[in-house]
């Protein structure tokens, strides 16, 4: 029975490969047999030339230096720290150590006896592959870092269907165009085009009397072979169609279909009953469908969203975007690129939703149907850094209308807002608990009212106002008349210039969340409640940086930069003296965004609450480093806005 002490060891080992590959049972067996050895700085664990000991080592804390004697001098070859595995090579090869191992600082090391582990090497394929992959590349230390894990992943292939490249995501995910649109071979082109228009498709299959596919006509064929050739519209389809068509059986595996299309550079593949061209037509798939089913082509997804008028379809596309997000994050793409793509997708979705809402209601509001309005994204979406579908914060501002039309305009706008939000909810966005959303009548107002709101927040900076300001000041025009948003921005700066004291209050407000001092073991975790022992990355790490960036950028009167990390970039440019710190802060923010998004995807949550123990070593290290700028930035705020003398 595993006791507390053994569990301690298990908890540690399971975070690091190769132990992370072991089943709980096997891991418990290993953990039960290990020793913990403590070495003072400078002490040798083993020396070059010594016969291999009967165990290998994992660093539990501290750092071990692997050194070699080069022309009489001891030179460091590798430094192993927490979670790194070393001393395996000699052990498996049953030969003397080729390097010295020496404690670089006081270190606690786990010694794993070879007898236990050899058994596992034999039983567990992944572990032996893991070691093999390291040694094959001449590695001395089995790194717990990312690169090693990725190498191994490539070696294993992924065990489950979530293939990293998402190339072959399984046949079920493909959308076959259904029902397939076709025309008889004797028809004129004009008739065929009429069919294509009726069904809003870009291609049509030409079939004979037995419904066997004989050819295909696409938009391109119409351009090149009909209009380009100056042929009349009553030209028979048979003379302009592409033929023969490449056919396949509908039971073919997706990967085969895909390869087939790539090989023949096909845009369309036609499915027939038995797979040959001499059997009845059953379906068609286009390269467009395939790209969509892969979900990692943002351009295709955005285009699909733009063309879609069906809520369920839109929701499905938005779900696919999540797969794309995961792929991007796992492959360490730059966060500004990722955020840009996700923001564009969300904006497209909103624009589409607005178009649908207008189409639905404009007939009932003939007097105000052309009213200018602007849909504003607020909060993190406003800053263009919302990666996950967390709470929605948004608003609508519309132009002021004559007294007589006020009520009509208001009703029309409310209906639009309501429909847009319903579509977003259907796409799995969450409702804002504080109801800072356009469907709340308070936040769907004419420009004059918005100006009043902002004036009040700036002139009377009580806690409530400041809270509102942190969310509303990051507004960004998503759709509609940009000019309305610009006018509002203008108004904000005018107000701030009149009452400069607002910025001091705003700066003080930005200090409400102290930096998560202490790290590693003592992340500032939540003390109680549902998220006890978890680290609130939004409150403790992201908000302090976002709030500070907002205040500083306002104090510089910069317009149009909403991303927190881009704001820091701009600040670095504006204040060369502090450039290094601002750049660090921007980087730190990107790291937080990445970690939060990954956490959210893996736990299917907002990713806000993170269990520090669940983080890999690399991520913990990243987080730890990323905390440093927070305190420094807050110091700058304190000095610059004289907050120590500023009563609350």
């Amino acid at each position: 029975m595993a006791n507390v002490v053994v569990n301690r060891v298990i908890d540690f080992l399971k975070k690091y490969p190769p132990f992370s590959f072991l089943s709980d049972e096997l891991l418990a067996q290993v953990a039960k047999e290990v020793d913990l050895v403590y070495f003072e700085e400078g002490e040798f664990l083993f020396q070059k030339g010594e016969p291999a000991k009967s165990f290998f080592f994992v660093v539990r804390e501290g750092a071990i230096k692997l050194t070699d004697h080069v022309s009489g001098k001891e030179e460091t070859v590798e430094i192993c720290d927490e979670g790194d595995v070393f001393g395996v090579l000699a052990l498996l090869g049953k030969r003397p150590y080729i390097l010295n191992a020496r404690a670089d600082e006081p270190s606690l090391v786990i010694a794993v006896p070879v007898a236990t582990f050899e058994k596992i090497l034999n039983e567990n394929n992944r572990v032996s592959l893991y070691f093999a992959s390291g040694f094959a590349s001449g590695q001395l230390v089995v790194r717990s870092g990312l690169s090693q894990t990725q190498k191994v992943r490539a070696l294993f292939g992924r065990s489950d269907s979530e293939n990293g490249l998402m190339l072959f995501s399984g046949q079920t995910a493909i959308q076959y165009s259904h029902p397939v649109i076709y025309c008889p071979i004797g028809e004129s082109t004009a008739e065929a085009v009429a069919r294509m228009n009726r069904h809003k498709v870009g291609s049509i299959i030409v079939v004979d009397e037995n419904k066997h596919p004989k050819g295909i006509i696409t938009d391109k064929d119409l351009r090149n072979r009909l209009i380009g050739q100056n042929l009349p519209y009553d030209t028979p389809v048979a003379s302009i169609m592409s033929q023969p068509v490449v056919t396949a059986s509908k039971d073919l595996e997706f990967s085969k279909i895909y390869l087939n299309m790539v090989k023949h550079r096909l845009h369309h593949l036609v499915f027939t009953e038995d797979g040959s061209a001499d059997s009845p037509l059953v379906g068609i798939i286009s390269d467009h469908d395939i790209l969509l089913s892969q979900g990692n082509s943002p351009a295709v997804l955005i285009k699909a969203l733009q063309e879609s008028r069906d809520i369920h379809e839109m929701a499905k596309y938005r779900n696919q975007a999540e797969g794309m997000l995961r792929y991007y994050l796992e492959n360490e793409l730059a966060i500004d690129f990722i955020a840009g793509i996700v923001t564009e997708i969300n904006d497209t979705l909103i624009r589409q939703a607005i178009a649908m809402a207008i189409a639905r209601h404009e007939a009932d509001f003939p007097e105000v149907r052309h009213i200018a309005f602007c849909f504003l994204a607020l909060g993190s979406e406003g800053r263009g850094e919302q990666l996950l579908r967390t709470d929605l914060d948004n608003a609508i501002v519309y132009e002021d209308v004559p007294e007589g039309l006020k009520e009509k305009a208001q009703n029309f706008m409310h209906l639009i807002a309501r429909d847009v939000m319903d579509i977003l909810f259907a796409c799995d966005f969450h409702s804002c608990p504080a109801e800072m959303m356009a469907n709340n009548p308070r936040w769907c107002q004419p420009l004059s009212q918005w100006k009043k709101y902002f004036s009040r927040w700036i002139r009377e900076p009580d806690p409530q106002s400041l809270m509102m300001a942190t969310i509303f000041f990051d507004f960004r025009a998503v759709s509609g008349k940009q000019g309305l948003a610009d006018e509002l921005t203008q108004h904000v700066y005018e107000e701030i210039n009149q009452g400069k004291v607002f910025l001091n209050f705003f700066a003080k407000n930005a200090l409400l969340n102290p930096p998560p001092l202490g790290f590693f073991r003592n992340f500032m975790v939540e003390k109680s409640g549902k998220h006890a022992e978890k680290f609130d990355i939004k409150l403790r790490a992201m908000m302090p940086l976002a709030d500070a960036a907002r205040v500083l950028i306002l104090s510089h009167q910069v317009v149009g930069i909403n991303n927190t990390f881009k704001r820091y970039e701009k600040l670095a440019e504006l204040e060369p003296a502090q450039a290094a710190l601002f750049k660090d802060a921007g980087k730190a923010y990107e790291i937080f965004m990445r970690i939060r998004a990954l956490e959210g995807l893996s736990t299917n949550s907002s990713g806000r609450f993170i269990n520090p123990d669940s983080l890999g070593k690399l991520q913990r290290q990243l987080l730890k480093n990323a905390f440093f700028p927070i305190e420094e930035i807050q110091k700058i705020l304190k000095v610059r806005f004289q907050l120590d003398y500023f009563g609350s």
Binding site: M1, N3, V4, V5, V6, R8, V9, A31, K32, E33, V34, D35, L36, V37, Y38, E40, E61, P106, L108, A111, R521
Partner: protein
């Protein structure tokens, strides 16, 4: 006839495992033996209170250290089934879960087996040993006479030297928590017997290295 029997002092015959333990005490550890070759048993108990006359042992945890290595394979964690009235209290506190309950005899037997030829170590060890003696009394265990090393005393001695005025010591500075913090030991599983024993073992290996630097190299010097 034994004189004790004559005066009616005789208790039940001592069980074999207690006699075996006591026999090992006859062979003392040589005082010249290097510290790095010593064998230690680091232990801790969790009790109902601090009164060695009235309170009971609830659980016991121990782990062996030999040649400066903490032997995870030797880790022990035992729970004694609490007396009925205590059991009610525990239910209220919600502490009930699957636990490796053992009899008092099994506990003492395991403890004494592990204690043979080993130096006993603990933080405020005297209290734990007194509590263990209380558990073992009815079984025929009288006094635990193994060499005993208190990590509290060792830590103080490393700071203050061998001769110090006990009144000058702020004992809260040498609590297990404080020492863990100072020696960079992650205080997991605090206040479970096995968890605390594991912490004390980590503390021990670190203190012993310090001691070695200060010239404490043999068993004699360590205990002296």
């Amino acid at each position: 006839m034994d004189w004790r029997t004559f005066f009616g002092f005789a208790t039940l015959p001592k069980p074999e495992y207690i006699r075996a333990y006591e026999k090992t005490l006859e062979r003392r550890i040589a005082s010249r033996k290097p510290v790095s070759e010593l064998e230690f048993l680091v232990l801790d108990t969790e009790t109902t209170g601090l009164d060695t006359k009235r309170d009971h042992v609830l659980s016991y945890g121990a782990v062996q250290v030999s040649h400066n290595r903490i032997k995870i394979s030797s880790a022990k964690e035992y729970y004694l089934r609490p007396k009925k009235r205590n059991r009610e209290a525990i239910k209220v506190h919600g502490l009930v879960r699957e636990r490796p309950f053992v009899s008092r005899e099994a506990l003492i037997r395991s403890f004494l087996e592990d204690a043979r030829h080993r130096v006993l170590v603990g933080h405020h060890l005297g209290f734990d040993l007194a509590m263990m003696e209380r558990v073992g009394r009815s079984l025929g265990l009288r006094k635990i006479k193994s060499p005993a090393l208190d990590t509290f005393d060792l830590a103080v001695r490393l700071d203050m030297g061998k001769y110090y005025d006990p009144r000058s010591i702020v004992s809260s500075e040498y609590s297990l928590d404080k020492l863990c913090e100072r020696y960079n030991i992650v205080p997991d599983d605090r206040h479970t017997a096995a968890g605390d024993a594991f912490l004390a073992a980590q503390l021990l290996v670190k203190l012993l290295k310090q001691a070695e630097k200060k010239g404490i190299k043999t068993f004699g010097e360590l205990m002296g």
